[in-house]
């Protein structure tokens, strides 16, 4: 076990800041925990999806008659089994989705827009029969020209995906269809005026590739619809209320008829905030009148579920010789995949958010291409724009001969800074993470041959949102805590700790579960690093509700006014002038009198959690570059981040470490490789290269705590920020090692060797 987290909270709190065993832990180390694919129902069928082999094609007709006749096939559906939807954007995590597109992404209607796009689905008595049936479905396609690259998609004459798409946010409104869904702009001050004061100006263009969340558990669900229209779904999802809303909408059913249970979820990282299989399984089950189970293959996960955007980014920064940034521009072109809705807006908002600047202009474009529709991926949009900005800042620091941490300190955002995207920050930890980096031993340790060191910072907003929690006092004084945000990585532990802290009861007296959609009011999904923040806030409120009710019941028994009773140190006591008049009553004793003093005691919180606060990070990384093969190895890594307050420090560290590992994959090896026909060539973990254990060093962490004043325990979301700095941190380290600035991700060996050879020819390479 690692030592308790530094500074303060340990002494202040009994549970918060400690490292207990998570309540769902034993089930997860014994194989007992049930994930999406681990559910089975009597009479269940196997559902399989027919997917488009073409990147772009008009669907002239679909003939399912032969499949329907195959023995063992119980139902077949196509896009026409779902209701047409009007154009309407609604929030999904930090992203927006449009139902007109959701219904088309769930199953193609007029056109197949990417290889892997769902065309039809069958439910049969076995997987073998379901697969045979798919082969019997005849689809008449008119293959159309396709476009994969974001810059190509923006050019005049590019194949148009949606004939009715006109670029929004442009004046005057365009009259011709385009693949650019919208233009966004955030402006502060006057960048042209700022540029005139600059001693140094650097402008660079960057390219990043789409990367997949890479959760190890493929999408999986089982659905059962009864003859009277009551429907149940068990599913691996980040938000079961969202699944319910989407399914009810797409199928035209009452929301209340659908009950969704969140299975244990085998990773999501944003990718399980949307629906893929769930509406299909429900439609198939409704037709077949039997439960239908659907599990994606890994290949389907890559071909049909959303990665994050690939992008083209231009950044131009002007600075004074003393390191002060006087002008900051960026232009972002983000791929949305087949339907509008890339994370370009949050990307634009984040780009310069870590800095206190006077002149900022960021323009973003949301661009459709013939790829799977992007989904949220950990700080959606932020890593791309901040990679570019943090790279250029590093280059400016080198050019003016300034320490890159000092340059960032010189410009760091702080309490009261007005961000280019609008708000004034409350207390934030940018300066604190930079100072921690500067004083960290890593920053001063000498490097070896062919090694280089980089540093970069990162920002993410974090969100709150609608949240419900219930906390029932059981008849023996134990407690049942029910939350509605799926637990991806230790949420139940931290909720339990906050409830125990409030009530001053031992952790093992509280059992925490994630309730289904029938058990609680609405809950927005686990995303935006909101669960520990929002469900934590609701848990505290529910615990206080229990304490208040406990006092009320004791006051009845003692025949005292309610305000003459207080809850303190785990018991209800007479307070003030009445202190000592009655023996304190524990929760167990209160539970014993619940019936005769008014019935069951249940604390409840139904909130729209406000006051989410950004989390900032600064990372340091050492790389070693093989001068003959161009292979980059990460040899040391330190992630420093503001957690507000770490409820369970081990799981906070785990978020930092996991985000770093994903960032290393993004920086060095992960990419989608398409052939000339727009078919994905690497839809598996063999050639979509996520980091393996032997690729990585230990990842050191430093938890900085600048408490969020808007949360009862000072919590900031921590899950997303850790993936923001790694790409620039590594690129800056590679530049430091080689003398070559890489502006294209991934920095894979062939690219690195080629650039090294070119630099050697020019005499600019350091190795």
């Amino acid at each position: 076990m690692q030592e308790k987290v530094k500074d303060g909270p340990g002494s202040e709190f009994e549970y918060v800041g400690t490292r207990p065993i998570r309540p769902d832990g034993v089930d997860k180390v014994t194989g007992r925990a049930r994930f999406g694919a681990d559910f089975a129902l009597p009479g269940q069928l196997v559902g399989k999806v027919l997917r488009s082999p073409h990147a772009h094609a008009r669907i002239r007709s679909i003939d399912t008659s032969a499949a329907e006749k195959l023995e063992g096939v119980k139902s077949v559906i196509t896009g026409m089994d779902f209701k047409e939807q009007t154009s309407e954007f609604i929030p999904a995590g930090e992203m927006m989705v449009n139902y007109k597109d959701v219904v088309r992404n769930t199953m193609a209607r007029e056109k197949a827009l990417y290889e892997g796009h769902a065309i039809a689905a069958v439910a049969a008595t076995s997987a073998t029969i379901a697969k045979q049936a798919l082969k019997l479905i005849k689809v008449d396609y008119e293959v159309l020209p396709h476009v994969i690259d974001v810059v190509e998609a923006m050019k005049p004459g590019a194949p148009i995906l949606h004939e009715d798409m006109y670029t929004a946010g442009v004046e005057p409104a365009p009259k011709t269809a385009s693949n650019v869904a919208k233009r966004v702009e955030f402006v502060l001050g006057d960048v042209a005026a700022g540029l005139k004061q600059a001693d140094v100006v650097i402008e660079r263009e960057f390219t990043t590739q789409p990367v997949h969340q890479g959760y190890i558990e493929p999408h999986a669900c089982i659905a059962s619809v009864s003859e009277d229209g009551q429907a149940d779904v068990w599913v691996s999802t980040q938000g079961h209320w969202i699944v319910r809303a989407h399914c009810a909408r797409l199928l035209g059913w009452d929301v209340g008829k659908v009950r969704v249970t969140a299975a244990e979820i085998g990773g999501g990282f944003g990718g399980k905030t949307v629906v893929y299989l769930e509406p299909l399984a429900l439609a198939l089950s409704k037709k077949a009148r039997r439960p239908v189970k659907m599990v994606m293959t890994r290949e389907e996960v890559f071909r049909a579920s959303g990665p994050t955007s690939g992008a083209h980014v231009r950044v131009k920064i002007g600075a004074k010789k003393d390191g002060r940034i006087v002008s900051a521009e960026a232009e972002l072109k983000y791929q949305a995949g087949a339907f509008a809705g890339s994370p370009v807006q949050p990307g634009a908002m984040c780009a310069y958010a870590p800095y206190d600047l006077e002149n900022v202009k960021v323009v973003g474009y949301d661009v459709v291409t013939n790829r799977p529709k992007v989904a949220a991926y950990r700080a959606p949009g932020g890593p791309i724009s901040e990679f570019a900005v943090e790279s250029v800042i590093d280059e400016i620091a080198a050019k003016i001969g300034m320490d890159p941490i000092e340059m960032r300190l010189k410009n760091a955002a702080k309490q009261g800074t007005k961000a280019a995207y609008g708000p004034k920050f409350g207390p934030i930890g940018m300066i604190e993470t930079l100072e921690a980096a500067k004083s960290h031993a890593h920053w001063r340790t000498p490097l070896k041959k062919n090694q280089g060191r980089g540093v970069a910072s990162g920002f993410w907003f974090n969100i709150g949102g609608e949240t419900s929690v219930s906390l029932a006092l059981n008849e023996d004084g134990t407690l049942s805590l029910t939350a509605g945000t799926p637990d991806i990585g230790g949420l139940r532990a931290s909720l339990c700790m906050m409830a125990a802290e409030e009530l001053k009861v031992p952790l093992d007296k509280i059992r925490v579960q994630i309730g289904d959609t029938g058990q609680l009011g609405y809950n927005f999904l686990t995303g935006g690093s909101r669960s520990t923040f929002s469900s934590g806030m609701a848990t505290v409120e529910a615990a206080r509700d229990v304490m208040k009710e406990a006092c009320k019941r004791a006051s009845k028994l003692w025949e005292l006014p309610e305000d003459a009773v207080e809850y303190k140190d785990g018991a209800v006591r007479p307070a003030g002038p009445n202190a000592g008049k009655h023996n304190p009553m524990t929760l167990k004793e209160i539970a014993g009198i619940a019936g005769k003093t008014g019935g069951p005691i249940v604390g409840y919180a139904r909130i729209n959690a406000a006051g989410a606060a950004p989390s900032l990070a600064t990372h340091i990384c050492d790389v070693e570059v093989d001068p003959e093969t161009g292979k980059v190895s990460v040899v040391r890594y330190t992630a420093i981040q503001d957690a507000g307050r770490a409820i369970h420090p081990s799981y906070v560290e785990g978020q930092y470490q996991g985000g770093v590992a994903q960032g290393i994959g993004w920086a060095l090896n992960e990419e989608y490789i398409y052939d000339a026909k727009g078919k994905l060539e690497n839809p598996g973990f063999l050639d979509y290269r996520v980091p393996v254990a032997s690729d990585l060093p230990m990842i050191d962490t430093v938890i900085v705590e600048v408490p969020n004043p808007r949360h009862p325990y000072g919590v900031r979301g921590v899950g997303e920020t850790p993936i923001v700095p790694p790409m620039a941190t590594i690129a800056n380290a590679v530049a430091n090692a080689t003398g070559v600035r890489f502006t294209e991700l991934p920095m894979s060996p062939p690219k690195v060797l080629k650039a090294l050879d070119e630099a050697r020819a020019k005499g600019t390479a350091k190795i």
Binding site: E628, T629, L668, N669, V692, S694, D695, P750, K754
Partner: protein, 286 residues
């Protein structure tokens, strides 16, 4: 699909010969099952050869070793003597996939999968190994470099099975080595693979050598000019430079998802040098 698990080569050969449709031999299955799962192959008959004793044994023969085609990578690694005599072959076989894959993957399967990037094949070629093939017409021995013709294409006739590999006796200061280049540290397919086996005389001069490259041509190559570059030398810098150039000159690679032509050619030269250096150090100690 029909599954059969014969206990003799006669039975296995008869099953494969009689089946008019697509028939596949199953050894470790680490390629075959993936191809079945992803609908690349859909065999009517699968013949599991692991019940045939010879495919599962490592025996000393004629001063060398006979290694059954279905011996797993993990078993090769655990055979102390084989590992000390042919470290390059064993290391190469041990680079195929993960620890889990090592529990199943075999050199017979690695060769018969017909991939130019198979890790164990350049090592076997460099070692001068022969494949013993059984079929309707009996047994025959074929140099490993002659088994694979092109991607997914072997010189085996219908009904023929690779039974075992014969690693030759090793004399004096002889040693082998294998290296591959991959983007990660594990779990990838070779972008380039290189096997080197060389013999030194008492003065440390190389008297014989075999150099083999994988993943740089439609089939693993035995590169005679690369061997010639180091024979008669002490593998000094000049010889290493020539080896590098000869290895590069032998490459006829393609651009694909795992590497560019240009990159593969350069790395082939680098790997040839690095692999030869390891073989050299090992030979000096022998």
């Amino acid at each position: 699909m029909r599954y059969e698990a014969p206990t003799s080569f006669d039975q296995a050969v008869a099953l494969l010969t009689r089946e008019p449709g697509e028939a596949r031999v199953l050894a470790g299955g680490t390629d075959l099952l993936v191809q079945m799962r992803t609908d690349i192959v859909d065999p009517i008959l699968v013949v599991d050869i692991k019940g045939i004793a010879e495919t599962r044994q490592i025996t000393e023969e004629g001063g060398g070793f006979r290694v059954g085609a279905a011996v797993t990578g993990a078993e090769l690694k655990e055979h102390g003597k084989l590992k000390s005599v042919w470290p390059g072959v064993v290391e190469a076989a041990n680079l195929i996939g993960s620890t889990q894959v090592q529990g199943r993957a075999t050199m017979g399967g690695n060769l018969c999968n017909g991939s130019p990037a198979a890790d164990s094949v350049p090592a076997l070629i460099a070692a001068g190994a022969k494949a013993t093939i059984v079929g309707p017409k009996g047994r025959r021995d074929v140099p490993v470099e002659d088994v694979m013709l092109a991607p997914r294409k072997l010189s085996l006739a219908k009904g023929e099975i690779i039974a075992s590999f014969l690693l030759p006796p090793k004399s004096g200061k002889t040693a082998d080595a294998y290296l591959r280049f991959i983007p990660r540290t594990e779990m990838d397919i070779a972008v380039v693979g290189c096997g080197v086996c060389l013999t030194l005389d008492a003065k440390g001069v190389c008297t014989a050598a075999r150099v083999s490259l994988g993943a740089v041509a439609p089939r693993p190559l035995l590169v005679a000019p690369a061997a010639a570059a180091i024979i008669g030398t002490t593998l000094d810098d000049a010889a290493m430079k020539k080896l590098d150039a000869a290895a590069q000159a032998a490459c006829q690679p393609i651009d694909d998802k795992r590497g560019t032509k240009e990159y593969r050619i350069k790395v082939a030269g680098v790997l040839a040098r690095r692999t030869a250096q390891i073989a050299l150090e090992r030979a000096r100690k022998n």
